[in-house]
Symmetry: C2
Subunit: 755 residues, 2 copies
């Protein structure tokens, strides 16, 4: 009961925010909308078609895309229509075929409009009629693994994908069809289809989740095309008057409709921070991006009075900028949470995002450079705008800078900071749990040089759409390894994961920013605190990327200050990639490899080497992809050093056999971990010459550590010493500090000192 009440209040609030109407006034809103008779109107518009036809042949990137799409669709027409009875999981034939069909239908619809060639309309019509014929006979999909089974696909999610694309195809051939044909399709295919993924599947539809966003968009877009206000409302606000069991979970362990929020607007409101950060991380933002933007564009075109692109201070367009900034130098998204590596802004959804952002945003010329790299545009009004921009030489480089992205609907639930300097990128995560796709990785980070990982974030344990690997779905090692804290570059206390690896607890908390500073282009710093991951223990981590004239490249400085109410064992791993070159300590390598532990991810690590640390600094150098790297970390002589390798208890070879170096400090209450990572030099197997293969750091030393300040001296091999002081408490930009260290006074204003 309480849930329903909240839900109704929410709807009213949203309607007011939108400056539109309360629930009771929907009929008037419809009257303000475009006429339903002019098609296409949803994404490609009648005016857009005119403009495109006028420019064809003079807009190279558009013309090229059109040619490729035409070749693809012509080949499909040649091959003939295939609408098989649904049978397979992802990666199987029927899955792949229906997936291909949705793309082909969409593209054929566009070609019909742009080229004015009826063969494309006929192809769309014929295939839709086959779907109509089949759909009305379909039971639930025979594969049972999903929490919400579809009909064409094993999960409603994919059915929704289908409808998002196919509603655009339908819009394109709407006027080509007779009323009778339209009635047939709408009655037997589209409405039942929309109902199945919504009313019949509330556990899928009625919540805040990227799956639901697809569902909402699917229902809304077909609603816009059919001018069906009930579906449009269901899309925007969720299923009316629905009660759900709030304790159910989805396949990934996420809550189903935790708090009654649902519908497209709630899916914008909740997961996006005011900075445009999407709480599940960039991999899922990328996935959700398409329905968010394409439905928004449809709403913008058909229901302009909703002002959807202004909603929540324009967060949809902001989110595109955030997402582009969450990619490395090669355009690959940082694999935060359950992110599959290699996904990049070359994916189709990002073509949509970039084109829409350019067209409906403020025509950022940097986006044109990305569009050029993507080498294709949308075949619609926004793609035309981008093509014209490129043609008119408006493209400028898209410069990614250091950026701090808040998390949470109001931007108050931690965030992600990216520090960039020259080719070095540091991704520091101090966000909230990240929904069901979140990892237990508070204050973790990953480090890149020129798009290559120096210290990796493992990403997810899944081979998306590769049927041989668990049907292409999440593997059990995703939970037992990839989500666990020990799989990340952060501190693990007593071999347990943050929040004991419990989603229910983790999702109640978030880390808190201490400060972020990127004004000084030589020194970029982010600092954040985590107080809930291990009750009774506080972790304050300050990470800097420093460009100093004594160093060839910017180096990373990492200060992790741990304060606890009891003695603990701390493990601090470094997931370096590449070949060990040198250490400044002796280590033993065991004859047989044994596991490091028996739970919380430790059961997946073999121990490959063991050492007692030297008393001041422990150093490890490695070589990866032609670059040298050195970790220098302050140790005491009761610290243990471990070399580990992923792959234990992995009975189906689901995990990559990658290494880590680990610092273990036992029986300690409060402590400080201070490390630097240098990228230096290069090696080419062609010239066989090794350049600057040695570390430039002679010593790292803590010269002060109080509750208010931590100060670290960095002495280079030539004996030059620099001092970094971070403010642990009073860290505002305006704060003025005076501090005496070794009888010398330091005064500065701001969050940190470096000199």
């Amino acid at each position: 009961m309480r849930i329903i009440r909240l839900f109704q209040i929410k709807v009213a609030v949203i309607a007011i925010l939108l400056g539109t109407v309360s629930c009771g006034q929907k009929t008037e809103a419809v009257a303000e909308s475009q006429s339903g008779s002019e098609h296409p109107k949803l994404i490609l518009t009648a005016q857009g078609v005119k403009d495109i036809r006028a420019q064809l042949g003079t807009i190279p990137i558009f013309d090229k895309t059109l040619e490729a799409v035409k070749a693809e669709v012509d080949a499909e027409i040649e091959a003939g229509i295939d609408v098989p009875i649904p049978k397979d999981y992802s990666g199987g034939y029927t899955h792949d075929r229906h997936k291909r069909n949705w793309f082909v239908l969409h593209k054929a619809g566009l070609l019909y409009q742009i080229l004015d060639d009826e063969k494309y309309a006929k192809f769309v019509k014929d295939m839709l009629m086959e779907y109509e014929e089949m759909y009305k006979t379909l039971p639930l999909h025979p594969k049972t693994r999903s929490y919400a089974r579809g009909k064409l696909f094993w999960q409603c999610l994919n059915d929704s994908n289908w409808l998002v694309y196919v509603s655009q195809a339908y819009d394109c051939i709407y006027n080509y069809l007779s009323e009778e044909e339209r009635n047939k399709l709408e009655t037997n295919l589209f409405r039942p289809f929309a109902n199945h993924i919504s009313i019949d599947s509330p556990q899928f539809y009625q919540r805040v989740h990227n799956h639901s966003t697809w569902g909402n968009a699917a229902v809304g877009m077909i609603g816009l095309v059919m001018d069906d206000q009930e579906l449009i409302d269901r899309a925007l606000y969720g299923i009316k008057d629905l009660k759900l069991d709030t304790e159910e979970k989805d396949d990934d362990g996420g809550f189903l409709n935790k708090d009654g929020k649902a519908g497209f607007l709630a899916n914008i409101e909740e997961p996006f921070s005011p900075d445009g950060y999407y709480n599940e991380g960039p991999y899922y933002q990328r996935y959700a991006m398409y329905p968010f933007l394409i439905f928004a564009e449809g709403l913008h075109n058909v229901k302009p009075e909703l002002k959807i692109f202004d909603y929540k201070e324009g967060v949809l367009l902001k989110s595109i900028n955030a997402l582009l900034n969450l990619s490395d130098a090669d355009g690959e998204f940082f694999p935060l949470n359950d992110g599959q590596k290699g996904m990049s802004y070359y994916t189709g959804a990002l073509v949509t995002a970039v084109d829409i952002s350019y067209h409906f945003g403020d025509q950022d010329p940097g986006l044109l450079t990305i569009a050029e790299a993507q080498d294709r545009v949308l075949l619609d009004d926004s793609g035309l705008a981008v093509a014209l921009g490129i043609k008119n030489n408006k493209a400028e480089p898209f410069n990614k800078k250091s950026i701090n992205l808040s998390d949470g609907p109001k931007g108050t639930q931690g965030g992600v900071a990216i520090l960039r300097n020259e080719a070095i990128e540091l991704v520091f995560k101090y966000a909230s749990q990240g929904s069901s796709h979140g990892h237990y990785d508070k204050l973790s980070y990953s480090l890149y040089e020129d798009g290559e990982e120096i210290l990796q974030d493992y990403g997810l344990a899944r081979f998306v759409n590769i049927e041989q690997k668990g049907g292409g779905n999440y593997l059990k090692e995703n939970k037992t390894w990839a989500k666990q804290t020990i799989a990340h570059n952060t501190v693990v206390q007593n071999e347990t994961s943050h929040f004991n690896g419990k989603y229910e607890i983790g999702s109640q908390h978030h880390s808190v920013l201490n400060y972020f500073s990127s004004e000084n282009e030589k020194v970029q710093v982010a600092s954040a605190k985590e107080s809930n991951a291990y009750p009774g223990t506080e972790m304050l981590r300050t990470m800097a990327v420093v460009k100093d004239e004594d160093f060839e490249k910017p180096f990373m400085l990492d200060i992790m200050k741990v304060t606890s109410n009891k003695k603990n064992k701390y493990d601090f791993p470094y997931y370096f990639l590449g070949q060990v070159l040198q250490t400044n300590f002796e280590y033993q390598t065991p004859k047989s490899l044994n596991v490091l532990g028996n739970k919380n991810g430790y059961e997946h690590l073999f121990v490959e080497g063991i050492a007692k640390s030297p008393s001041k600094n422990s150093k490890l150098s490695w070589l990866n992809k032609g670059k040298f790297y050195t970790l220098t970390t302050i140790t005491n002589n009761s610290d243990e050093l471990l070399f580990t390798r992923i792959g234990a208890n992995d009975p189906e070879f689901n995990l990559r056999r990658e290494a880590a170096f680990m610092l273990r400090r036992k029986d300690t209450k409060n402590t400080l971990f201070v490390s630097a990572i240098e990228a230096h030099g290069s090696y080419s197997p062609v010239t066989e010459s090794a350049v600057n293969s040695n570390s430039s750091i002679k010593e790292l030393k803590v010269v002060l550590d109080t509750s208010d300040y931590t100060a670290v001296e960095i002495t280079n091999v030539n004996g030059n010493t620099k001092l970094f002081i971070t403010s642990n408490t009073n860290a505002s930009k305006e704060a003025e500090h005076i501090l005496k260290i070794n009888n010398k006074n330091y005064t500065w204003k701001g969050s940190y000192y470096y000199n």
Copy 2:
């Protein structure tokens, strides 16, 4: 005594072959040569300088190279001369500085000639004078590890490198110097230098080895510049009247001057087969290429009467073509023997090779395409020829085809076959031992798709020039792992390496070609026999790459027929790279990883998985770099299957942690291993779509196996069956065969049948 006699006979024979003179007639030969007064004459010639100056500014690739070289040398002049007292191993400062100096001297010499700017001549002179000043005071290099210590460097090899380049620089500024200056340099630097690397270091100089080739070229080139016939003769024929202890070995375990052969001509005669294959393999050929070609060019220019490019039927130029064919689709050399991966035709020595081959060969337009990819040319006569060829649009693709390269001075000591079909390349090695850099890898192979390894050859265990890894030299794991048979994709008998891993035995033997067939562009086959690696056991391996319409890509078929006089244990590893996707058998993964064995390389393998094989075919699929692969191998149900990983007993992390799948057959006398490897489909992390991820082979089956024939049926998933029959004995192109299998008669002409 006997050795000296042979050596003298050899010299006489060579002189006669060359159509020149016997030892006693040298003075006349000199009279035929170019005048010694015209400089430059060695590589860059006076005429070449005129031609280059006339074309400058109109030959883009030459102009661009010149600009880059000028910028580099100008920066060095700006930075000032540094000639430090020798101290370090490779990778250390003094090593790298002297190495850089030789390149800079050479380039500055060229710039002086081409740009006619005295500042470059002065720079060369000043630096040479510093070397003169220092060299006369130098003891042996302080580092003691080499079998032949240099003075500037820790090994004579690098001293020789220096002199090969610096003699060119000296030639360029010869006329700029006063006679007094020349006398000073020649007396205190060049002659003692040449003597140290030859007379004082016969264990380095006086043998057939790539090191000696550098030594010979160094002595010969400075001899040509100084017009010193004694040095020229020493270069061509070795040190006169020298007796060496034939039982000594070098650092790599190779013999020192095994049979008295020495000098540049012997170094052409012995290691090159008539096809141009260099017996140490492409990595060392690449290294030796520069002195071979640059000294040959010098001889061609200064002693044209020697007709050096016609020597041994033009083998030097042929060898360049062979070397280019020993590279993958990306131009990287196959890492046969001790080859470091990543070395490619982008290396400087191959710029020399390509330009010289074009200029002094028959102007193959395919070489121009490689030169374009190299994006630079030699700044001399041959570089000018290439630049003009490119400018005049003569470049055509360099098409690599299937090729069989014989090994041995007469081409009778086995060889290397490369089978190419579309993007698939199979490298099948049935060569001789390959000198001290050889591996115990009889009948081994590696497999590539589009330049990426499918089944790898491990290469060497060394990080060339990376000081932190054993001074950049061979690591002990090179011997204990990389050279061992188990490190290769071939059969291991009773856990021992071929020839018991003994170089003395291995270097007496070679495998023997059964047949090579590349006429049919759909079916390429190589077949060879090894009878000595395991006394009493004969191995006949037939490898085919087959393009069949039932398969997406060409597949590999591998038939290894083992005949023995006793029961043995056979291990048959497949060094696949990538992630295991699927098997058709159950396997167990141990909780702890133990080593597979205790010697012959087995001590470096951990066992990661164990299975009993199914009764007909065992299948393993994996994913690597976005491509799918499947191995299908015929097994019986007493075979064992193992997953192994490299890295055991590797106390300094010198080895890469890479996997293998291994078939183990125990207690068996004669046996047959039949396997197919398919490359199929693709996966993109951007589209997340998995295409053709399953094997197309339903079954492999042996339908006949006699001493004369082996016949294998390949049935694909649609039930289509093809038959491959290989002739084990009478395998000539002309042989006619009639064979009854399962009551059906097969008749064919040639080495194999496929249909």
